[in-house]
Symmetry: C2
Subunit: 285 residues, 2 copies
């Protein structure tokens, strides 16, 4: 830890908790291969995401939200890699919002204070920059909520349905259009309050934590924290070559070497998954 | 031409004019290498764009808008490749809007009828799909304006400035957010009228032709035509590996072969540019 980092750690009065959401099923990726476990640059995607927070001295605790399918494997990876800040591995829910709520519930039960800084991150954004995480933590000194976002290079069109066809309703100024990334960060009290208000609304179907604050606490400004093009969300197989390219750059290896290494790691991961399944099978008998 | 194509051509009562905008300076790409002339998959980017319309039997005419720097080279490429539908190569202006206006002015002088279908396309989107071009032509049978756009996979945030910081103003429903691509298509009368109204507004600085219609003819719906992820805009060098990958897929060659071919073509293009410059120099003396 550098002196500056030590000072930053000392100056932090509130805990900084990262919630890594790894409960998605990623049906658009590959039904038989949960994307959060796929290796990129020789490391499972979920490990990249956890390590972004594990290695940041300003983050005090990590919660990982999983589904039943990846639970054993994520547990094994956390053990093997010795991620010491991971306090709990929580089962998530069907929708993204259910997973966020499961993590918030656990933090309540654990007695986390209301001024804690909660950083909610999609595990399938493995390459989040240190500066974006730090930016969230800093923004919460002045704002109750913040989100990493990347300025849109394309003109955004807002549409409406004209019966069978979509038509353009408005074209916002390009400098005022951003693509949401993660982490999305909140003071613990604020995100809890927003979700409480939202729960009372029968039309509540958010796909995004920031939106819960924007819609239900409209007087609470959500600050934009600078993201990056490389903080991509891995959604389909088509994203993998791009991801391998970024991983190779970050690890300073050639893309070809990264590819080979990825293949090796994937074979290992598959093998481990088979063992885990066999072990589970044995426990049932 | 297939029978279906012949029927479509016969059924078209209005001319279909493609305006290919190739007057950008692309300073974010490489100051010394205009991106519209860079080769991808063995072909200069501007050629891909022109050919998308040249090869479409429903397009009757093509106008190419250039700047002084690429003028000679684009002329040479059009001659060499025998693009028979190119009616004029027009000098553009400083801003994108000036280039559109230059093309519209020429079409007025040429006596193009008011019901003509005008498809305005960025030359640096080389991989526009046939279905998107056809979709524009079809949409103009029912609408006065249409634009190719791609559904946003990211949540879009609309922001406002809070003094020194941007904050989120609204989070539109994701299914109602699209990223504008090109072509953007208009009945000739409609786009002319929108630009006339816009010209009277001192605050007029559009970056997008669709926006001119949305802002100045708010009662004229602009239809969304389905774009594609591959219809990317080449903006920076970082887009080139992605572009080579798409080109390789489209031409059915391996990416490696495509890369080699691209290098060869680029060397040729550079050589031609040097000759063109030398020729221009000679003319001046």
């Amino acid at each position: 830890m550098t002196e500056r980092e030590q000072n930053q750690t000392k100056a932090q009065s509130a805990p900084v908790v990262a919630v890594v959401l790894a409960a998605g099923f990623g049906t658009r990726f590959d039904e038989n291969n949960p994307k959060q476990l796929v290796s990129v640059g020789g490391r499972p995607i979920v490990c990249w995401s956890i390590e972004a927070f594990e290695s940041n001295p300003r983050v005090s605790d990590i919660i990982v939200v999983v589904n039943a399918r990846v639970n054993d494997m994520v547990n094994t990876l956390i053990d093997e890699n010795g991620y010491g800040k991971v306090r709990a591995i929580v089962p998530g829910g069907e929708e993204r919002v259910d997973s966020t709520l499961a993590a918030l519930e656990l933090l309540k039960q654990a007695g986390v204070p209301g001024n804690a800084k909660i950083l909610i991150h999609d595990s399938v954004r493995p390459f989040v920059a240190r500066s974006s995480i730090d930016g969230c933590i800093d923004a919460l000194d002045r704002f109750e909520a913040a989100t990493v976002a990347f300025a849109s290079t394309d003109t955004v069109l807002l549409t409406e349905d004209l019966g069978d066809r979509k038509v353009v309703r408005a074209v916002p100024d390009r400098p005022d259009t951003f693509r949401a990334q993660t982490p999305q960060a909140f003071r613990f009290d604020t995100i809890n309050k927003a979700y409480e208000l939202a729960a009372a609304d029968p039309d509540f179907h958010p796909t995004d934590d920031t939106r819960v604050v924007v819609d239900y606490l409209p007087d609470t400004p959500v600050a934009i924290v600078e993201g990056s093009e490389t903080n991509l969300k891995i959604t389909t197989q088509a994203d993998m070559p791009i991801a391998e390219g970024i991983a190779a750059k970050l690890t300073g290896r050639s893309a070809a070497a990264a590819g080979e290494e990825a293949a090796k790691q994937e074979a290992k991961a598959r093998m481990r998954a088979v063992f885990a399944e066999a072990a589970a099978e044995m426990r049932r008998h």
